[in-house]
Chain length 346, copies 4
């Protein structure tokens, strides 16, 4: 019963097979392998973006930080939700890669509200005040850190605010696939057609070994990205093994199938939790649930070896009926059996 994170599950066999298949003889290093050509084509097709610049790195933090670094001057600030991954879980990597830019946190429980974003940007008008950090890119997380999915309308409302101020937009898509299948839209619709300039297209959390694509819809950033990637020590010499993962991920829409599977498991879990009268922080839309339920249930789950993050409180000590928060994440390999086993403790 492993609900701790989608970064801890196994790699899908189809992806592993591609990695194996790539292991024949010599291949050109540093992204010049033939499989990368296949990946580039597949991503351009998937995103309906024939000119896009496409790169692979091994971690989500690298994807985010390098993408942002190409759009942020060191005297600027990045606008993001208060509880975004780039703020809370990257140990100053965005600050590092941008050469010391700031992150301006938009107060929110989860999604940014366009008005709040607009107000934050309005406090930093262009070319007017040399004393303050200047307005830089807007970074949106899709799926959010609390498991919500921006609708296309919501995305467009946010990017419209950025565009009105002439600011670029980054999409942190560590769980891109989970959001996409939840919305039932196209990759183009969820990105450049909605005003996104650069996207971190996650693979690691959704069944890969460790690979993320960075996709620039404006290819002018290509060479700068390549240099920043190398300088950041994120250019893999035996790049074919990154390419192979991404190729397997995209092949026959595996990425969507895995995301659907994860979302379905999560929905089953959510349904059970609601039936058991757990407090739900949000309506789960993708593969992540934030819920509160009694200590006694936590204790039983722990006793049976369930793994997940308890967000507050002490499972061992306290009133049996006190609710404690939990983060529960389903990955592509989660089964109905395990979900039901988990739910059987309520």
């Amino acid at each position: 019963m492993f609900f701790a994170s989608d970064n801890s599950g196994p790699v899908h066999p189809q992806i592993m097979k591609r990695v194996m298949d790539a292991n024949t003889g010599y291949a050109m290093p540093y992204g010049n392998d033939a499989i990368m050509d296949e990946v580039r084509d597949a991503i351009r097709t998937t995103f309906e973006a024939p000119e896009a610049a496409v790169y692979l790195v091994a971690t989500g933090t690298a994807a985010n930080s390098l993408a942002l670094a190409c759009y942020t001057q060191p005297f600027q600030t990045i606008f993001c939700a208060q509880h975004s991954h780039i703020e809370e879980d990257e140990c100053n990597a965005p600050e590092f890669y941008t050469g010391g830019a700031k992150l301006t946190l938009i107060p929110t429980d989860d999604k940014m509200h366009p008005d709040d974003l607009a107000a934050a940007i309005a406090r930093r008008p262009a070319n007017s005040n040399v004393h303050m950090a200047q307005a830089g890119p807007v970074s949106i997380t899709q799926v959010t850190e609390f498991g919500a999915v921006h609708t296309l309308e919501e995305l467009r409302a946010l990017t419209a605010v950025a565009k009105a101020a002439n600011l670029p937009v980054h999409l942190d898509g560590a769980r891109f696939a989970n959001a996409l299948v939840a919305l039932g839209c196209s990759a183009a619709e969820m990105t450049w057609k909605s005003g996104v300039d650069v996207v971190s297209f996650g693979g690691t959390k959704n069944g890969c070994m460790g690979v993320e694509a960075v996709i620039f819809f404006d290819p002018k950033k290509a060479w700068e990205f390549e240099l920043r990637r190398k300088r950041g020590a994120h250019l893999a010499s035996k790049h074919r093994y990154l390419s192979a993962q991404m190729a397997g991920y995209l092949q026959d829409d595996l990425w969507k199938d895995m995301a659907r599977s994860a979302n379905a498991a999560c929905a089953r879990l959510a349904k059970g939790l609601i039936a058991a009268r757990a407090e739900m922080k949000t309506t789960p839309e993708a593969n992540m649930i934030f819920a509160r339920f009694p200590r006694s249930v936590h204790q039983k789950l722990h006793a049976d070896g369930a793994k997940y993050y308890v967000l507050d409180g002490d499972v061992a000590n306290g009133p049996a009926d006190e609710n404690l928060g939990a983060r529960l994440v389903c990955d592509w390999s989660m089964t109905d059996v395990l979900v039901d086993q988990f739910l059987s403790h309520f």
Copy 2:
């Protein structure tokens, strides 16, 4: 006939098998997987260093830059050979990770001479001149960029100079295994017993997919390294796949076997080149040769699809008997048949 680089060859089956075997169910992320425990133990045993702090990253540039960053203040300079990887092939990654430190290049054809190193350090006496970059760590490359191997005596002469000035020593061991089997010494002898404080222990060029260990013999640096690794976006979430590679690499001394194989192929190639009267830049000691031979031979090799770096001149145009330089690298999978095929063009 692929002699271009040891970063382009296949992964050894034993390593690939470990990666496959690791792909079962869930595993704790971020280096907390059980295989990492095995790796840590194996490396501590191999290096006779029971207290060593051991970490994995996916690229050699990350290993070097992060290791150096833990020993370099931004107002210092790193001493290294003029033609070292950290100077020539890392696109300012050491400068980036150290927050803007300098590299002071010791003039040399290949290996640093201890007197030259001492002279460079002497120009930057401690605590005396606020205007100049202060003396920082010494970084030694083993195998050198031109394929030479420092003897233990040579290593110790260099580290003695560093120690006399109270400076830490980093060993860039991208080809650590090739040097070790060439010297026939122990890992401890080639590192901490010879005055090395931190080593980049390479796996990628010697049959892994993409993994390098950073080994601190002083465990006090451990937490700082962990934070710098995360901030550099080099902490893998699905870390078990890095661990599995390194576990397979170390198992039954595979790493030494592969290095011996690469070195033997290289020796066979060198012997043939010498017999063919190629000009050898240095006596090849590990798995890399720098040699000069006639354009006409290059042309024949190119026509037959041989891959390697031509270092100067134009293969297509010029006198047939003019010598052009070549870099020839053998990896673990190089065969006698291919070497002989290459040599048959002379």
Copy 3:
């Protein structure tokens, strides 16, 4: 009627005289001038800190950023009030000088509350979570950006929180003198006796030309500061002219006299504003007032050439009786006549 800022007033004649007097023949550069010896002694005496390391720089932002850089690792975060100078008015200088550290903003209207500081620190426990920016120094502004003065009790409550978490404390004392005379305490009481480790001791806003002292109560930071100052390009070659300013500032307690004069003018202004029923944001305690009064008054003041920042709204257009916010600052040279002239518009 110049109430815009204390960074725009004239230099006190006693200070200017010292600058003139320093202009005789040659003097050792880079802080080795004899006047600096006088300054160091005077500051050590004033702060009852015979071991303190004392340095001069030309701007307040340099003092703050360099002081913080000596106590902040790039993977850490500095805790400060939401509306602090280092966050709002230094264009990412703290991020720059720390190599990309973060600023964590404690929500507040003005002063930090110790409980809020404690809560923010508690979210970043030491040595526990590699994913988040680690807890770094606490920076307190005295006088605050809105003109309030922390009492010694308030200062100590904040530093106690920092000390409990083993964090160093920086005091941004751009208006140190104004706070000190308001409290009637000693320089030692307002700094190291209250738990401050390093202070930016401002001169520029209080009658100097451009000089701030950075005072480390722990002299171990001395050499690192010197190197960081030089690397930041803040080591003045003709340093005697910085020394002379600070010497004149300290001589015969001129710095306190000027601060008293500024505070008295501000108190007179505040009294008049209150009598005129202006809305006061806070009770003015030093030399700065945030007040709201009718547009019609703003219009008359503007027509007569009064200079000050209007914080919101459009002076030219809108209802005559609508209140608009103003920041009013008095420097040492402000006269009763000018204050009364300003008040006569109400």
Copy 4:
């Protein structure tokens, strides 16, 4: 007898008078003072550059580092002479301000030779090799660190190499005035008419208190420079005192008169040294001499309180007739009497 440095002499009375005169009432801060308008106009006229962006900072290192930062990406390298100030005397400030760029040192005794510069640039062709630091700006020092002056032909030969590779050119003009009067050319001829894009126009070493102008002939860099200056903590609030220095410096060509005076003193000293058979490293062209003469003379000079840098050897101990190197610098205030007094020791 102070020949140690031109950064240690007094401020010219005309400049001091302007500083005094500026000290009346309030003035707009941060470069918005009226005197800055005068300075901007004067510099644009002097440099025949009506569109130039003109800024003031307090140190030469700030001028160089900020100017270079506007033209250097962190993955690039700056080309400069082996013994340039930015390499040897700025404690990694250029690396800091550029976010970690490299300095590539052109081997030379003093001036760069255009062929050596061209060779260094040729090793870094544009857009071709992601592994190496990319070619960035060329920085030329005029007067060189050893007291030589580039002729206009020499300058143009160097800038032509840069322009052929599409690289910008920075001129470190800490001793701009001394070079200009030595050449007898115009400021425009020594800068933009010779291919210079940005110049650090020194004041400090030539009779100011602490002020340098940074002049961009391409005004597109203006806003970026302003932000970088603020972020570097080099934007003076009471800027009028910087402006006043520069205004006094430019007024009635004082800057040229002072430089002529310094150069003349130096020429007198050089003539005497040559007559006394000192070994001259170079023919002194501006205000700096590198010469070698017997220990016995050094001892007499030291006994009489002469101040200058001895470059090698121990003045106190050794053969009386052994030659030791000295750096001798004359500033604007050097007198014939002092020069002759110095020479009387030979």
